[in-house]
């Protein structure tokens, strides 16, 4: 054990490995910040380098990209209101509001610190208690997953207080959109209206980027046109003043202020680690549930959605805390629980290691080196983030008329590159128009995205449960599932009572 650890230390701390970690993080942050592009995509592109590099260097590069990408997604979420990756969708809700209030730097730093905190805790859990947690994860079958999805939908539909009906409607619309394509159980096509390109359903990236980014662009452009046609030049000037008057010195986040966000960060970290360990649940779901829970347990829950730093911290910690734990099922059973885990699994296979419990035993030097890299890469992420963030904050305050066309081009490029598909570009534009309509009628956008993300899993879990159990009562046959339903009901009752008392 000690010998393996010494070998691992010398592997992990080799200067070339450090260099690859830093390079990976830089690439990850940059790609993550471009809407549509994600760390996963870069990992997929760079998988063949595994053939040419030493195992520790290759893992360092991939880990760096992954971690950088996770945080990078929140940069464009906060600065442009466009989540760079699906996991950053929840961070965008409050992050972008904070930026509009002239606090991009605070929001970005909150995201960075909470991301690193969540990620580090999750890595430590992967290293020390992977096996027990993995055993819990295996207890999640279709019945338990359906309960988890139902719980998250209930929690999130009510994200925007006072807009319950609109939240539920947006969520339902998201689920409906996610059902386009092939029926996951029967295999037949549904809601494709005879368009063969829709057979595979709508992809997440164009829907996400379209709903958030393209709709924002259209709204901004129409604002500018309206202003021009009415020749209200003063109004436009006043708006641009907000950007030129940006006071970088006042927009700082002292570390002790971040420490005040410990509760939100801890909720995010715990939730993210647990959800990340469940095969198939994903980082965006973790971020939304963390956000929802943090809002419920916050003293200033009313501030959520208006630029709350607790909102940013909980969502970003939840998102990043999946990064270590998503590897747990892969290490414990060889089951890739997420797209990222599948890519890491592929990298291990390319290195001649079969993912599973034997991998740690048979290749202890490389795996321990990976553990060490996972932990110190967070510190590198923190340092590089600290160096880069002031520039990103300033960039976010560039005039929208210059920034938005650039973001729009990047979004189209990123969306096309993610799936090599023109259909996705049309979906992006269609989702943009839908986003504009929803904004005009005051519907919240986040529940729609959550519905879209959770919909396929929830439908599959429900129908699998009914196929296995044969009757509806089977949904209540598991203590874990009953636990979720009781907690959901309890939370709803508790908050209804609290709201009534406040009123």
């Amino acid at each position: 054990m000690l010998e393996a650890l010494t070998d691992a230390l010398s592997l992990a701390l080799d200067p070339s490995v450090l260099l690859f970690v830093a390079l990976g993080i830089l690439l990850g942050i940059t790609l993550g910040a471009i809407p549509g592009l994600s760390g996963d995509m870069a990992i997929a592109l760079l998988l063949p380098t595994v053939f040419y590099l030493e195992p520790a260097s290759a893992l360092g590069l991939l880990v760096g990209i992954y971690k950088g990408g996770m945080f990078g997604g929140s940069i464009s979420g906060i600065t442009f209101g466009v989540p760079g990756t699906p996991g950053a969708a929840a961070t965008t809700i409050d992050g972008y509001q904070a930026k509009l209030k002239g606090k991009p730097n605070r929001a970005l730093h909150t995201a960075l610190y909470s991301s690193v905190a969540g990620d580090t805790s999750s890595d430590l859990i992967l290293i020390f208690i992977a096996l027990p947690l993995a055993a819990v994860a295996l207890k999640f079958g279709p019945v338990e997953f359906f309960a988890l999805y139902a719980f998250s939908l209930l929690l999130i539909s009510a994200l925007t207080r006072g807009q319950l009906a609109k939240g539920v409607a947006a969520c339902a619309l998201g689920i409906l959109l996610s059902m386009i394509g092939r029926d996951p159980i029967g295999g037949s096509l549904r809601m494709t209206f005879g368009i063969p390109e829709l057979a595979g359903g709508l992809s997440l990236i164009p829907v996400l980027v379209g709903i958030f980014a393209v709709s924002e662009l259209i709204v901004q452009v129409s604002k500018a046109w309206a202003a021009k046609s009415r020749a209200i030049v003063e109004d436009a000037k006043e708006k641009s003043n907000m950007f030129s008057d940006y006071d970088a010195a006042a927009d700082k986040l002292p570390f002790r202020d971040f420490l005040k966000l410990w509760k939100a960060t801890a909720i995010g970290t715990g939730t993210g680690t647990l959800i990340g360990a469940l095969p198939g649940a994903g980082s965006s779901l973790a971020a939304f549930i963390s956000y929802g829970l943090a809002q419920r347990f916050s003293r200033s829950g009313d501030e959520f959605g208006k630029g709350s730093m607790e909102g940013v911290a909980s969502a970003e910690a939840g998102n990043s805390a999946t990064s270590g734990s998503t590897l747990i099922p892969l290490f414990a059973f060889g089951i890739p629980g997420s797209a990222t885990a599948a890519l890491f699994g592929a990298a291990f296979i390319l290195m001649g290691m079969t993912p599973g419990p034997n991998m740690v035993r048979d290749h202890s030097d490389v795996i321990y080196a990976l553990f060490i890299i996972l932990v110190y890469a967070n510190m590198v992420n923190l340092l590089m983030g600290k160096v880069l963030l002031p520039y990103y904050s300033k960039m976010s305050m560039v005039q929208p008329r210059i920034l938005l066309p650039i973001v729009f081009c990047l979004a189209i490029f990123g969306t096309y590159a993610a799936g090599n598909s023109f259909v996705d570009v049309w979906v992006l534009l269609g989702a943009g128009l839908l986003g504009v309509v929803l904004r005009l009628y005051g519907f919240p956008l986040a529940p729609l995205i959550l519905g879209f993300i959770v919909g396929p899993g929830a439908e599959r879990a429900l129908r699998q449960s009914l196929l296995i159990g044969g009757e509806w009562s089977y949904l209540f046959s598991s203590p874990i599932a009953i636990g979720f339903y009781v907690t959901a009901l309890g939370l709803i009752l508790l908050f209804t009572l609290l709201l009534r008392n406040k009123a």
Binding site: L138, F140, G181, P196, E197, A199, G280, A346
Partner: protein, 328 residues
Amino acid sequence: MKMHRKTLVAALATTVLGVAAGPTMGSDTNGDSPLGDGPIRLVIPFGPGGGSDMTARVLTATAPEFCGPRIDVVSMSGAAGLEAVNHVMNAESDGHTLLVTDYGPIVTSGFVDDVEWSHDDWDPVMLFTEWLPTVYTHADHEIDSIEDWVDKLEAEPNSVTFAHAAPLGIVHLPLILFEMETGLENRHIPTSGGGETRSMVMGEHVDLGMTLPASIAAEVENGTLKALGTFADERADVLPDVPTFKEAGYDVSLPAWLMIFAKNDVPQETKEFLQDCFMEALATPTAESMSDRTNAGIDPRGMEDSAELYHNTVEMVGSILREIGEID
């Protein structure tokens, strides 16, 4: 495990260029080549990181030396893989755009989806490997063998839950074939992929699952999973103790091949050139070691053998789909 500075610089350069422009390594164009200068694109109808992707990448690393131009793997999983198939069908017939697929997106889709091509519009260039669908369960399950499974179903019809990826895909059709042959019925539980099937089997949420041998070989060896049988004429190399269904007395064999296809109007000379240079590349020690490392089990066959196998599969899948009423 120190790395030489030159290797490090080269690796860094590859890394950066890789992100900027995809693989850019190439070599001099082969003098006798009927191919032009542009890259050869191997289009896969699946996401990156899976078995098809990793197998195709063995050619990107080894074949440029023999074929001339550089080789890129392009992943297009849109429209359940049909976008990739249609992309190759609509590309120039110059042999630069090829499809790497198992039979799902080309044979099954050709029957059940509304496509503008027919099975005869495709010609296999070569076959990489044959995957052998295998039925498995968790170590403590009461079913230990194909016979146990059949006995249980005969005693209590429809009492076994069976998880499998994509309906009518390569790990589902063999089950349907088995049921057609025996008249037995299972409860089919479609999943999102091999990973989910495996969690459901290991977590004891379902009785049986179907997958490809390489993904369970290690667990079968250490005893956490049990493999019951393989839908093939011969046993899988990585699961030498697991019988085939034929050995157990059921004439059901439906291996899932991975082939490279060209449109049939690509000149015969070009297809033969591609076959030869790919086969040469796969015979190199580098390709063999990559195949071993990735468990790809590459065992290449030329276009004639591949064509025969392709047409047999079209016939067999067609008859299964007709039998279950999916097509007329």
